[in-house]
């Protein structure tokens, strides 16, 4: 079994010459060529909290193991964003249509991945977010 992820970055005009970057990786267990073998599958949540909520709960057992996280903001209003944090450290804001794909170390039990619908108001409607986790064996990772 295999999980592959391909990124393509493309711009015809951000520099004097066109920019095209494409890279495919096969997601493997830490420091090996063995494929990751567990996944949460694709999940969807609708966010309406401006305070942090746990999207993926860390487990210290995962510290030396491999995990890859995919998150996308499925809103269509460009002003709507969600703020992504790990252990209260803000990583960045995913605006409508933005996605991220990162390795996740789970350095300790506080290293939860949290999300806040920071720009949400009663009039904006919920912000839909989809996410998936691919990881190796540990008995962790129950979504909060």
């Amino acid at each position: 079994m295999a999980t592959t992820a391909t990124i393509t970055l493309s711009s015809a005009d951000i520099a004097g010459d066109p920019v095209n970057v494409s890279k495919t990786m096969t997601c493997t267990k830490a420091g090996t060529t063995t494929d990751l073998d567990q996944s949460t599958g694709l999940n969807r949540v609708h966010l309406r909290s401006v305070t942090n909520k746990v999207l993926l709960a860390a487990n210290a057992e995962g510290n030396d193991l491999a995990a890859k996280v995919y998150i996308i903001n499925k809103a269509t209003d460009p002003t709507l964003y969600v703020t992504i944090t790990i252990n209260a450290q803000t990583i960045g804001k995913l605006y409508a249509g933005d996605w991220m794909f990162i390795p996740w170390s789970q350095t300790d039990v506080a290293a939860d991945i949290e999300v806040a619908a920071t720009s949400w108001t009663a009039s904006t409607g919920d912000i839909p977010v989809e996410y998936a986790l691919f990881h190796e064996d540990t008995d962790l990772l129950t979504n909060a």
């Binding site: 079994m1 951000i14 990786m25 420091g31 605006y95 996605w99 794909f101 990162i102």
Partner: protein, 136 residues
């Protein structure tokens, strides 16, 4: 303003039904539909186990950017710890939050709020190459 797109395609047969995800986003300034107009592209060779700045907040003039980091190493055991915060150098003081380990062949893509530096700590003291691009 420039038009820059970031696409992802994920395919996984870990589950009984194959998961296939494909999305493309256009990179805009925060909360707008105005394209980004700045890009930095860097390759660095590191040769120590120190935690050092990879991308400093001073290198970007906005508060919303996108970061691509790639470990081009062919050896899957050689990794970088990618962190966010204040680089601690050789000091063991942990003033950074680790996002994750980028093993040989791995890449990552994420939005960055430019509040804290992005740091890198090689897992191998021998020469290791890291590549990154920042769009802002």
């Amino acid at each position: 303003m420039a038009t820059t797109t970031a696409s992802i395609a994920v395919s996984s047969d870990v589950t009984d039904t194959t998961l296939s995800v494909s999305n493309e986003s256009t990179l805009y300034t925060a909360g707008t539909e105005t394209g980004l107009d700045a890009m930095t592209s860097v390759t660095k060779v590191l040769e120590s186990l120190n935690d050092v700045d990879l991308i400093g907040t001073g290198s970007v003039s906005t508060t919303h950017a996108y970061v691509y980091i790639n470990n081009p190493d062919a050896d899957s055991t050689r990794y970088f710890r990618i962190r966010i915060g204040t680089a601690s150098g050789a000091d063991s003081t942990d003033e950074t939050e680790e996002i994750g380990r980028l093993y040989g062949g791995d890449w990552m893509w994420f939005p960055w709020d430019v509040d804290d530096d992005i740091t890198v700590k090689p897992g191998d003291a021998n020469k290791m190459t890291v590549e990154y691009q920042v769009f802002s």
